[in-house]
Symmetry: C2
Subunit: 189 residues, 2 copies
Amino acid sequence: MPEQTTRQRRTAERRRDILAAARERADADGWSAVTTRHLADAIGYTQPVLYSHFPGGKSEIMSAVALEGFVELARRCRAALGTERGPRAVEAVAGAYLDFGREHPAVYEAMFQEPIDARFAREDTPPELRAGFDTLAEAIGDADRGAATEVFWSALHGIGLLERAGRMRPGDRALRVADLGVRFAAGAR
Amino acid sequence: MPEQTTRQRRTAERRRDILAAARERADADGWSAVTTRHLADAIGYTQPVLYSHFPGGKSEIMSAVALEGFVELARRCRAALGTERGPRAVEAVAGAYLDFGREHPAVYEAMFQEPIDARFAREDTPPELRAGFDTLAEAIGDADRGAATEVFWSALHGIGLLERAGRMRPGDRALRVADLGVRFAAGAR
DNA sequence: ACCTCTTTCTAGCGTTGCTAGGTTTTCTAG
DNA sequence: CTAGAAAACCTAGCAACGCTAGAAAGAGGT
């Protein structure tokens, strides 16, 4: 069994290496800069090795990076929420959400822009994908977890993307976050 | 001079053909399906001809399609606004905006997701790009054309993209638009 | 030491955006 | 009407992409 474990450990290690290299390069230069050849170089092997770990190729690698992202984003939003309530809660969660998107643009892109196999907006949505949404709902006091939360989420999504695409001045983010606080806080409607 | 005009007319025609083919194919199958070879086939010429019309290649073609999009989106939002005021105005403009994004997903993508040379959020922003934003500001009664309009725009942007990416049920759009009406209408804050 | 099975690499396919250089067509001038 | 100039167009090809079949190398068990 130690043999098997050694092998398994090595493949697991290399899997992590691949994902780390992909994530790093993508966040720095975009997903188009993440090529199978570069990725293979980064882990010290040749291209076909990638396909033994991720038979689906590049898109499967992106999905794996995205899944890590869901976990981290949900964790950070939850931590930011803490026990805050009202506009402070909205602003805290919004800040955490947008910070994540700014720090990891490519991870964020893989999470929400890529046509992904993961299911959304259904009953069988995996818990990793659900946790973040629930935190947003809690921040704005939307017990139904319905359209209000979707609109809040959309606003965050839009702000992050439009800032990154150069359509809004990133420096004015505080103004936007404050507006969100006033507009979305529980009972502010 | 009639000679020159004939040539100019033909190049202008072909330019329109190229843009129409690109737009059509992109809206149907995404920008990755718009290849220079297919585009050349569609207009009945070979690849290099494309570069005499658009020296910047594919990205310049996308920019040209985007510019057309700005004009049309602004026009449709303005028409939807009409003389409405309050929540009705917000809902009308939101509907028009989202409809455009749904009907022309690739044009929309070129407009707001592609790293484009066009300037945004500055004093020298071209009027085509400014008109749509001003209409949004008018719909929510934001005389400053400031953060409030940016947040409204972001919400629209986010809703459209998340719906298309399969992260939200498109069927529930009416609920979201209604929420926008309540939340963003002038004086509703 | 041998055989087996897994792992890894070499080499290559088809496609992409893009371009250099030569060929054909069109316009101008004598 | 014809020769030369200029514009338009095509053939052919480059480098890079994602991905894969089949050969070579390595590790494991007997």
